[in-house]
Symmetry: C2
Subunit: 339 residues, 2 copies
């Protein structure tokens, strides 16, 4: 077991949480949250548009602040923590990464679909040249079997990452799924392994614990769970539970609770509860970007949108295949008609 009693925490309130406030964090809010997280002892504070550097756009949602504006606000409030950015190759560029380093980012999470680690190679090389810590971050890991996740993790390792993350981006995993994937990666690579949970099935904290049991030493959280869809593991609860289990995180439980309740909660647009849409996305294991298309197709063919989501999940459809949703709905409707 690698250093199993200390768990490194990455708080992503200011990145994944950005989705939940439609990317409208102000400089004052960013400074207050980043300063609070820093004072509470959080080791990595992720600050970016929800879709990473350069995510602010018509497609992904315009942010109130520029990337520079967000990073400046956070950097000015951080004393000890590692300011961290997210970069999705294809959205963020190497120029964006240089800018982030310039404004004080100490680490970057290079995130790719679970089968596409290879598109992250150049960005990881650039990060290392810039002296940054580099995370290889594999998204939507529920869609690939453990051996595929291992293959991609090894690619990331060969590019020189410092850490590898298994991300349950759709919140579709249950503890055994997490253990199978995280455990296999821990076995296969030399670098520390982390896990990013979503709460679609109300299992975010439990899945994070399963990852730790399987050897993960990095975990993600967000205060009050703030994040896309059903949100993330709730950082303050994660800290409390890890403490109860005898793990150390370096985070002050009371202080992180205060950040959540006094700073983050008042900013939230809506409570991070598990309503039906995120629950169904987790159950079916599909992209949240499928929702709108699915509702439209359901109306057109007089189907329950949930049946379409389940079928999309069964077919392992991935982002970019939204056009095929109408075909799937058509086929389902035909089958119903013929039954």
């Amino acid at each position: 077991m690698k250093n199993s009693k200390f768990i490194h925490l990455v708080d992503t309130t200011l990145r994944d949480g950005s989705h939940a406030v439609s990317h409208q964090f102000t400089a004052e809010q960013i400074a207050a949250i980043a300063g609070g997280l820093d004072a509470a002892g959080v080791e990595y504070i992720e600050v970016s548009h929800g879709d990473g550097l350069a995510g602010s756009s018509y497609n992904y949602g315009w942010a109130l602040l520029s990337d520079e504006g967000m990073l400046k606000a956070a950097a000015g409030a951080i004393k000890k923590s590692n300011l961290t950015v997210l970069l999705l190759p294809g959205i963020g560029t190497q120029e964006d990464l240089e800018m982030a380093a310039h404004y004080g980012a100490k680490a970057v999470r290079v995130a790719t679909h679970v089968t596409e680690a290879d598109i992250g190679e150049q960005h990881i090389g650039m990060a290392k040249k810039l002296g940054m810590q580099a995370f290889g971050f594999l998204m939507m890991c529920h869609m690939a079997p453990p051996e595929k996740v291992v293959e991609q993790a090894k690619l990331f390792e060969s590019y020189g990452v410092d850490f590898i993350y298994v991300a349950d981006s759709a919140g579709a995993m249950l503890p055994e799924d997490v253990k199978a994937r995280v455990g296999a990666v821990v076995e296969a690579v030399k670098v520390p392994v982390g896990f990013h949970a979503h709460n679609n099935l109300t299992m975010a904290t439990a899945n994070a614990l399963a990852a730790v049991e399987a050897g993960a030493t990095f975990l993600d959280g967000a205060c009050r769970g703030l994040g896309a869809g059903a949100g993330n593991a709730q950082t303050e609860a994660l800290v409390g539970v890890l403490e109860k289990l005898g793990y150390q995180t370096g985070v002050d439980f009371y202080k992180i609770m205060d950040v959540a309740e006094d700073i983050v909660e008042p900013i939230m647009h809506r409570p991070q509860v598990v309503r039906n849409a995120p629950l169904m996305l987790g159950y079916a294991g599909v992209y949240s970007s499928f929702l709108l298309h699915t509702y439209r197709a359901a109306e057109k063919f007089n189907l329950d949108p949930r049946d379409i989501l389940v079928e999309l999940g069964r077919r392992r459809m991935v982002g970019g295949q939204e056009d095929m949703i109408v075909d799937v709905a058509y086929q389902l409707a035909q089958k119903r008609g013929g039954a």
Copy 2:
């Protein structure tokens, strides 16, 4: 393994959830929820004041409706499910139980503190005479070691209960705590065993799954988690997760989701999120009735109330010992002064 692929569900939206709406459910709301749960296939629908039959009072909070009014509203809407009531000996009486049976209650959960099953003997005898199914329901099970829980479960069994519940009333357990207690009870008794979760540590669904792994075949939930403090396991999520794992519940996943979103959610006074107070109660493992006294004592002695809660948990204080909170706070303050 006892019938391990079918999990019997008890929905307690209309009982534990009553706490979360200050016991103000209307007859129309009760009929709508009970009817929805029944149509979705929920096997047991618990309907009572949050503190059980005769709970409506100055001490426990006045309910909008009488027990009779609640049960009539529910019974009129239920076709197949078992209308179920909660009874806490010392609050509810045998007369209350006769009344409940008269209005159609098919089952009663006789709930006692984990060390006090003996006060339930008469009520269980009465329930059986009335032809009702009887559950022995052990509350605050995190406060007793597995062997004590077993001893009390056996007492309940000797009184003739049909089912025994292990309840994590303070939401203080983690999966290993659940497995230890539920597993030991399953080993020791012949009747089916259930588990009632609370979400204080964001672990309600995960703890319910742990109970099933340990042999439980009954689980509690509430739509949207509606319940005291951080609330319960979210019934609709529980159904989805159990389905994903291959268990059957007899509950239609889509229909129970619709009950949660279309009927229960609009009635809720506030979203069932894990704020700091319930998180701390779960972390410390203490009664929610301690909160107000703790805040007062903290102010008096200039302490963080959270330190007092942790100390109360460490001393395994139970309900009724609220007067001792000031003493505990005084001792903590003395220790601080001398340090």
